[in-house]
Amino acid sequence: MSVTTSSASWKSGDAVSDQFPAGLRVLVVDDDPTCLRILEKMLRNCRYEVRLNNRSYRRTRGKKLLFGIRNLDRVYFVDLVNESKFTTCGRAEVALKLLRDNKDGFDVVISDVHMPDMDGFKLLERVGLEMDLPVIMMSADDSKSVVMKGVTHGACDYLIKPVRMEALKNIWQHVVRKKKNEWKEKDAEQSGSVEEGDRQQKPTDDADYSSSANEGNWRNSRKRKEEEDDGDDKDDSSTLKKPRVVWSVELHQQFVTAVNQLGIDKAVPKKILELMNVPGLTRENVASHLQKYRLYLRRLSGQPQNGLGNSFLGPQDSGFGSISSLNGLDLQAYASSGQIPAQSLASIQAAALGRVTNKSGIVDQRNIFSFDNPNMRFLDGQQHHSNGKQVNLLHGIPTNMDSKQLAALHQSGQPFGNTLMNVHSQSGQSNSLLTQMVQPQSRTQMLNEVGGNPVLKFPSSVGQPGLSQPIPGSGFSRYGMDNNVRPLTYTSLSQPTSVVEFSRSQGMELSGNSIPLTSNSGITSYTSKGTTLQEEVNSEIKGSRGFLPNFDAFNELSQNRTDTWDLQNVGSTFETPQHSNVQSRLDVAPSVLVQPAFASDHRNGYIRTSSVNKAAFSAATSLGNGTNFGQQLTPSHADSSLRIKTERLPDMGFQNSLFPDQLGQDDLMSTLLKQQQDGLAPVENEFGFDEYQLDNLPV
């Protein structure tokens, strides 16, 4: 199917048809011809239409092409749409040119990290900056630092080579997520509920994860939805297609100058717009850019403190583990995105971070994510220094963040998170690990798993090594993504604990990408349900970074949308400008972890959401999340999420107790849970929830 169709359909957030992934237009950039050929074949098998752009193709047709171009610095572009045109690209610059010339010609970009003519991260930034496309990084290098770098630069995901088929199968989630974010953002903008710049970045950022190479100044994780033409799918008249605004270096410089003049706290889009005095620039453009910028700043400063937020970066991949905290979030989301868990966490974290005050609880979870996936984009948000406004949504990333974030969070004095926060500091690291690990793997897996509960394997051990709970999944190392996916469901639960543990075991986790998944999932093992959590988590994450989009998208796609919404709601909570999310997240975190698995209600994420919601509610109550939710994630259910949340509350009580069990991470979890919510998360770590879940789990 044509890409546009998919994006369009996606946007509405409804009916993501099963065919959505087919016809996805992917651009692959890699200097290794062997790898390119394999990727191309895999992508074709995914029913993505592959179009090889290469001159020689015409001459040689097919295989020859690759052989002919196996030269160094050769960048192959594979446009998955139709196999007719070819354009040769010898360098990453050519790739950029190709992208620029075909503004809407691609849906997602997969790029290698190490390339002769240009650093993969630079390409990532440029793409994110200029085109706001989801970018997935890949490399044989699986060291945490590199993965983290990917996360901080806004990569949607990070694949470890050799790339497996499962990993590629789920890349579409990033596209969907991004669109969803954008969609939401637009929606939010229109509704005017969005605080300038405070809006959850999530809507636009579905794809943000990777695409925005935030390097320049802010994390683009939030892809500016506004700028995305696709975002206009919503039949909202107010959301007119806005021509994408390219934030060039100068423009951004002007922006920064204006912001500094006004003072970062006082900088409001309207005033910035006036100061900048750029014709054609709308308040919305500035608003979304400001959002991203804030996240970016937060990320920078929050790192030292918030390690948590950053760690979430992983949401994408590991979303599982970290997301556990999201528990409430739809595990489904996780499952689908596989990565989401990490992301969710990130988002959660981000959300939490943003909240600062409340997030503590959430933060923990996020940390989990962050550890795992440096890629978690969510972490960005972490830096929020207690600004309610800034969506601290985990912009993910920050390797340092873990401890720092924790610190930061800690400072925020969140009621909930205190415990978590502490935990996070440690776990933050682990989380990132998990995240990282989880991310690559989780992505594919989660999606796959959604239906199945394979995850059970990983006991809450999100934290893997350190975690009290063994993370069965962790063993999976990258290849095992599938396995990891399952754990995602669990991860939510274990997250809190895992987070803590991770930090200790950090070293352990990252290595195995797979592990993160497991840990995360472990908690929620209820894959089917877990996904919901993930989704929730994702949704949360989305808020923070836009990662959540995955969940949203995923949720919609795979699960009962309603359920997922829960997650989304949860996510939204997080995302919502700051407070609401934070609180919810925090609370949720413990429960989130547990919840994912609970999906028992059929509504995959439902239960979870409840817990999450509950937490969120408690937290959010003060914040008045209601508003926020609407804005945030709103994957589509933004509204529903709010509602759901309320409903959930009652459930939450339930779940809270459940989660603790799941997490298994007795020590941490209990503590965290206890602190967070007095009543929310029954600290008992044993997998008590199993019982609960068993009933419900659709497994």
């Binding site: 290794d32 011809p33 062997t34 790898c35 050929r37 160094l72 050799p162 497996r164």
Partner: protein, 136 residues
């Protein structure tokens, strides 16, 4: 013939020459690309030649540029990994370790190992593909 091919293939796995990534490649092979695995392997071997040459050249220059060596080897390793060349990958990792500590002797020695494994696998795979083709 078919049995021979299968036997040889299994032996490659058992002896540690190939790992599960090779299985992934086999999974990708289908009626639209009936010779996919062979094609990819050929592609790898053609492309890896330049990488090997590059390392050799860099190893000759003094003082040894370990960073560059590591970088090239990383690329080579990535390629090898993608076709499932287990032993080659192992030697590559070893080489990189020597690079990290600046052990010139070790690097030179290890590089010979890398080349040997690389060539040995090539021979075996070529043999296997030939059998497989005849079997069809």
């Amino acid at each position: 013939m078919e049995r021979q091919a299968a036997y040889l293939r299994n032996a490659l796995f058992d002896q540690g020459y190939l790992d599960e990534q090779f299985l992934q490649l086999e999974d990708l092979q289908d009626e639209t690309n009936p010779h996919f695995v062979e094609e990819v392997v050929k592609l790898f071997y053609t492309d890896s030649v330049r990488l090997i040459q590059s390392i050799e050249l860099t190893l000759k220059n003094t003082p040894r540029d370990f960073e560059k060596l590591d970088k090239i080897m990383h690329q080579f390793k990535g390629s090898s990994t993608s076709i499932g060349a287990k032993k080659v990958k192992k030697e590559c990792t070893q080489f990189q370790e020597y690079c990290n500590v600046g052990n010139v002797e070790g690097c030179i020695r290890e590089f010979q190992e890398v080349k040997q494994e690389h060539a040995a696998l090539k021979r075996k795979l070529e043999h296997y593909f030939q059998l497989a083709r005849e079997a069809r």
